[in-house]
Amino acid sequence: MAATQHLLDVDGLSWPELQRRLAVAEQMRAIRRSPAGRVSDLRDQSVAMLFYEASTRTRLSFVEAAHALGAHLIDFDVSSSSVGKGESLADTVRTLGALGATTIVVRHDRAGAPWLAAQAFSGHVLNAGDGWHAHPTQALLDLAVLVRHIAASDGSLTGRRIAIVGDLLHSRVVRSNLHTLTAAGADVRLAGPAPLIAGFHDYVASRTLTRGSIRVVATADEALEGADAAMALRIQRERLDGASLGSTETYRMEWGMTEERLARVAAPSCRVLHPGPMNEGVEIDPDVAQGPRSLVLEQVAEGVPTRMAALWIAAHGLDAPPPVVPV
């Protein structure tokens, strides 16, 4: 058994490590397709779901992933727990540990919360999204989908152009994707409204990348020019008002993933992603979201094998032989 394995971040994961994770996820996909559809590799594990923030896709796919691996699930309901009485995250985590949890999946509205959980817990901690900071399993599933559809001949994303457009400032998805996509060799272009991209110029300038590249550009057209894939980010309607970015229609015109814009500037086969939930008709048009370019539902489906892999690697380590597909 490997030492305690957390998945707190994808910041710093190398391309070989990411490939290993993708390979385990591929195996998980095979398990899901097998007649039984599940294994019992993690029957000795108790996975506690600790979600301080609302979630549909991430929570459901972690629950499904835990079931598919035979793990016991502790479905902790933050809203009806002592958290409402002011019990701290650290104390809650210690309580879950005392109740036998071996793995904790944390979603939290504050950056760094999973690090706090990891300090207070002797088992594995998986970050299911922390504030604006990181969303490791989302980035891993996005990478799996992109590698499947637009990989170069060596299986990486080397030379592939990927546009990420929208509210970067508040997005944990973009922060994590920047690490995984560049580690995979992609050339990433970022664009968004000035108040929602503040600081990214300095951040990009401060990074020394050994693979891939990141550029901050001024317009959605520039970001999408020749793009092999494009990711739209959710814009919260209250932020449109708060940052005086004008109406949803103005936002759509400037930053929206529209078929007109994609057809005009992106590569002809450009695929479109969105981490969800979508504001259709704002950051992404319905015909794009549901059209032939869209990988949105595939992203959702990829959530289960990706999170199965995350749970399995936490328990067994990255170097263990992959799980066997039942026949």
């Binding site: 604006w132 922060r175 401060s206």
Partner: protein
Amino acid sequence: MTKAAHRFVDHWLVDPVAKRAGVATLDVEGSQITAVTWRDGEAAAGATWEAGANPGAGDPVRMILPALIDLHAHARQPGASGSEDVESFARAAAHGGYGSACLMPNTEPAADSVEILDAMVRPHSGAALSMRLLPIAAATVGRRGEQVAPLAALVAAGAVACSDDGAPITDPRLFAEVLAAAATAGIPLIEHSEDPVQSADGEAADGAVALRLGLRPWPARAEHEAVARNITILREVAARIPRARLHLTHLSTAASLQHVRVAQASGLQVTCDVTPHHLALSDAWLMGEQRWSWLPGDDAISPSAAAFNTNLRVCPPLRAAVDGAACRAALRDGTACAIATDHAPHSRERKEVEFGRAANGIAGIETSLSVALAAQAAGELSLATLVAALTTGPAALLEGKLPAPTLSAGAPASLVVVDRLATWVPARANLLGRSINTPLLGVALPGVVRLTLHAGATAYSG
């Protein structure tokens, strides 16, 4: 407390009042230094002070400095004695080599009355403390920034300065009123310069690290624009009341320090201090990188398991390495007159929370001298500069409210003996404060305090 006679044979003495350093033998009897015999005779004072205070390779390992003076500390009494009280504070301070400390009035309730001012410094046990505590009064009633506190009465009761530390005085008219009232009462206003509108919700210094970690930005201009405004108001008040004095505490940005430098050059009575953490750490520590800010960085690092350590959450926040360099430059050129700890103990429950919800503050009084010595060892500060910043600099601001921090016959025997080459590793087992919220836990630090004397009495011995 025992008052044994001491003879310190052939130690490296640094006397910032006489501006003299060298090998000497120092005798203590009762509460006084009775004799100091310099090995090189009586002549060599003064001229080579700045460079000559640094001991050479063959010089004694044991060093004696006047007991240190802190301009800015929180002893958490009354109101939060679970985090610290004056007795635990005094033990921690003596371990850090300190003999005197100014205590900030953000107590509960705030120290805006003679009664609370007394309660700030009174030991619960009734026993005498092994250090001198100097209370700072609230500048405004309740530190609410609405009405000037009764400063004359507070000064009569022992207040050495006034401040609403942690609650910047945002109303410019009130700020001018406080400056004038403090001048009349004969004390400086010590201001925490921050525009709370701009820093609202800030978790980490605006920059690449905050962005990478998804922490809400605390812009540098929230500090330096407040500094500029405060200096502007001082200029107006000083035109009417030349005695008006403003001291800006824990400045942390290059731009803030430059504003002070320019104001001082124009003759304005404005001073400032910097903290050990701002001069030696940077926001890279938030990534889990424990590296002094003067050492070259590796920008390829990723957050480690030690990232988001809430013991690094402090106000103003830790900033870029260039800001740390600016803090050290300000000490070297005299723009900053003091290293002030901003010792801010917090109980575990206030720190073992999400980074953005953690209480601001670092418990720093036990590590301050070691951090300064690390900067000195790296050639970033001369020993003369750092000793002045820990003794004569703060004493000058307090204008005679303390005996001069000197090592000469007839002076009070308030001194610290430091093994300058030994190292130690801060941990719960060796820290004496009630709270140990320091990011330096587990970090090897130079400079071990062996003995602290307060007027001849042993305040710390280790």
